[in-house]
Amino acid sequence: MATSVRKDGAEKRRSVLARAFDSDVFYSFRRSPVAVAAAVVTLASFVGAIFAPWIAPHNPFDLRTLNLMEASTPPVWIDGGTWKFILGADDQGRDVLSAILYGARISLFVGFCSVLFAMVLGVGLGLISGYVGGVVDAAIMRVADVQLSFPAILIALLVDGVARVALPREIHDDIAIYVLVLAIGVSNWVQYARTVRGSTLVERRKEYVQAAQVIGLHPAAIMARHVLPNVMGPVLVIGTINLAIAIVTEATLSFLGVGVPSTQPSLGTLIRTGNNYLFSGEWWITIFPGAALVIMVLSVNLLGDWLRDALNPKLR
């Protein structure tokens, strides 16, 4: 479809990253309005989340600025709403919009870190499994098989539960975010490991690997410097799609009350606390964080879908 564009960039391909931004991919990006829209929304929510302390109209964690008289103010377009709280205020007079921005920050942080953790774990084990083979390969892949027969959310809950039993309560609240990253990361490594193992098995037989073996490079060096760059392509696609899954998993765990503590609410925690006010008619406390979550996840999902199609010439 875009072979002429592709030739121009062929010389400049050095790293995986450069290839991901290859003009061919950009061409298909410009051609897809859905992808552009998804990218814009994703970017906007990332910027909003990362710069929350500077963008947000209020600081939801600064208790001095909260006024109980302003509690449960409805959104601005409903009678009784003010421009001070565009999306309304919660039961403690916290601005819902600010809480969403700060919450998205924590959701994204946990999402990104857990994807990164799963990626490092999965790619590492996949490389070793594919390159070393034999008993090591069999052992790693059996563990993967067993884990794959369970839903990821159950594994994450289990890891979280173990951490809760093993750690005293005070310590647990402080490091809850990292426990969450670990739990979600551990529950998602299998897909990376399987993909990387598959491509490593192919790469291992190629001449450049044999050449590297002949000149006596250490296996670890061959894996990291030579095989790894050639198996990373699909990993990035899985990573994008898994970011959406990780954000949803975090939200689910926080909603269930086993995620981040309510002192540092993520979107899931906000939905959980807001859910209690659903019946008294204050729907905005829970629906807006929910909408923010869905918009974020949907745009990341769409972007991931597009990236998968764009990087896979077979599907065109």
């Binding site: 027969s149 369970f150 809950l157 289990l158 809760r164 039993v165 689910t252 939905i271 869905v294 996840v297």
Partner: protein
């Protein structure tokens, strides 16, 4: 065939042993069961007696064997939190979860498959586009959020359906069912839609892509060339051949449904196993966690086994060793 079943059985047993080992490690190494059971006031003799009673002084493999022996008989000890036998707690709540899960799965199938067939056959119609867009949103909506939205619309705003609990249930032996009373049925509607929606979109997309794939094959072209009606081609030949992956995914999703019931049960305060498990995680109630884990593993293993066996029933190509290869019945 028999060799295959034996092989699958051995694999299943291996998985169960692995899971039992994880559960056992939870018991033995996470937290201090003696301290938890004795409370604050105890002396060294009490502690030694307790350790001997629990068999904690015996070698590791003996403890593990004991654990497995007890687990097979459904004995997982007492819940730390409720001080009642764990198996009793779980069996009380099993019917609620299973009823909800099966209803959600049936809903996902009877809505998802026709939608998938329709979008596969009429891929360019506006209704197909709507289905596909909705399904994308459905995949991005977390289960608990679907539940909250449904409660907001149908319970809070319209006040049509209950938002929590099982309604009135009728006991049949040790099983309790909500399927026989009006309030029980009404209580089931929202949770089963919540739980089934994600799987429904998944099944729809799967059936659609399989239909598109199959419709491109030569035997479909040939069937059309033979002058068969669209109906016979679409349903007798195409749909039939999409069923193998659908069965696999549905089977595996049934396991996922039972697991995802955790968040649905939390939203709707459904008195099932999922809620019990979440509470046990929150309160570090190890025996309940371990028992839930083993039970889940057992479900998954059984479901996988049934799915594998169903292959044989559905796909004649797998029965070659019995010499019954090929042939379409349509």
């Amino acid at each position: 065939m028999i060799a295959f079943i034996i092989q699958r059985l051995l694999q299943s047993i291996l998985v169960m042993v692995a899971v039992a080992f994880v559960a056992f490690s939870l018991f033995a190494y996470v937290g201090d069961p003696v301290a938890i059971m004795l409370g604050v006031d105890f002396n060294e003799t009490d502690k030694a007696r307790m350790i001997a009673e629990l068999g904690l002084d015996r070698p590791f493999y003996v403890q593990f064997a004991n654990f497995v022996g007890n687990a097979i008989q459904g004995n997982f000890g007492l819940s730390y939190r409720l001080a009642r036998p764990v198996d009793q707690l779980i069996f009380e709540r099993l019917p609620a979860t299973l009823e909800l899960s099966f209803l959600a799965a049936i809903l996902a199938l009877i809505v998802g498959v026709p939608m998938g067939v329709y979008t596969g056959l009429k891929r360019d119609s506006w209704l197909s586009r709507i289905f596909l867009t909705v399904s994308l949103i459905g995949v991005s909506l977390p289960t608990f959020l679907i539940g909250i939205l449904l409660i907001l619309v149908f319970s809070v705003m319209l006040n049509w359906l209950p938002s929590f609990g099982r309604g009135q249930v009728v006991p049949i032996g040790w099983w309790t069912t909500g399927l026989l009373t009006i309030s029980g049925l009404k209580a089931l509607i929202l949770p089963s839609i919540t739980l089934g929606l994600f799987q429904m979109t998944l099944i729809m997309r799967l059936v659609r892509s399989e239909m598109l794939e199959v419709l491109r094959t030569d035997y479909i072209k040939f069937a059309r060339a033979r002058g068969l009606t669209n109906r016979a081609v679409n349903f007798g030949h195409a749909l039939k051949n999409t069923l193998v992956p659908v069965i696999t995914i549905t089977g595996l999703q049934l396991g996922a449904i039972i697991a995802f019931a955790i968040s649905t049960e939390t939203v709707f305060q459904w008195p099932g196993m999922g809620q019990l498990f979440i509470q046990s995680v929150t309160f570090a109630d190890v025996p309940v966690m371990a028992a839930y884990l083993c039970l889940m593993a057992f479900f998954f293993v059984v479901i996988n086994l049934i799915v594998d066996l169903l292959y044989y029933a559905v796909d004649p190509r797998l029965r070659v060793d019995r010499g019954v290869a090929g042939g379409h019945a349509g």
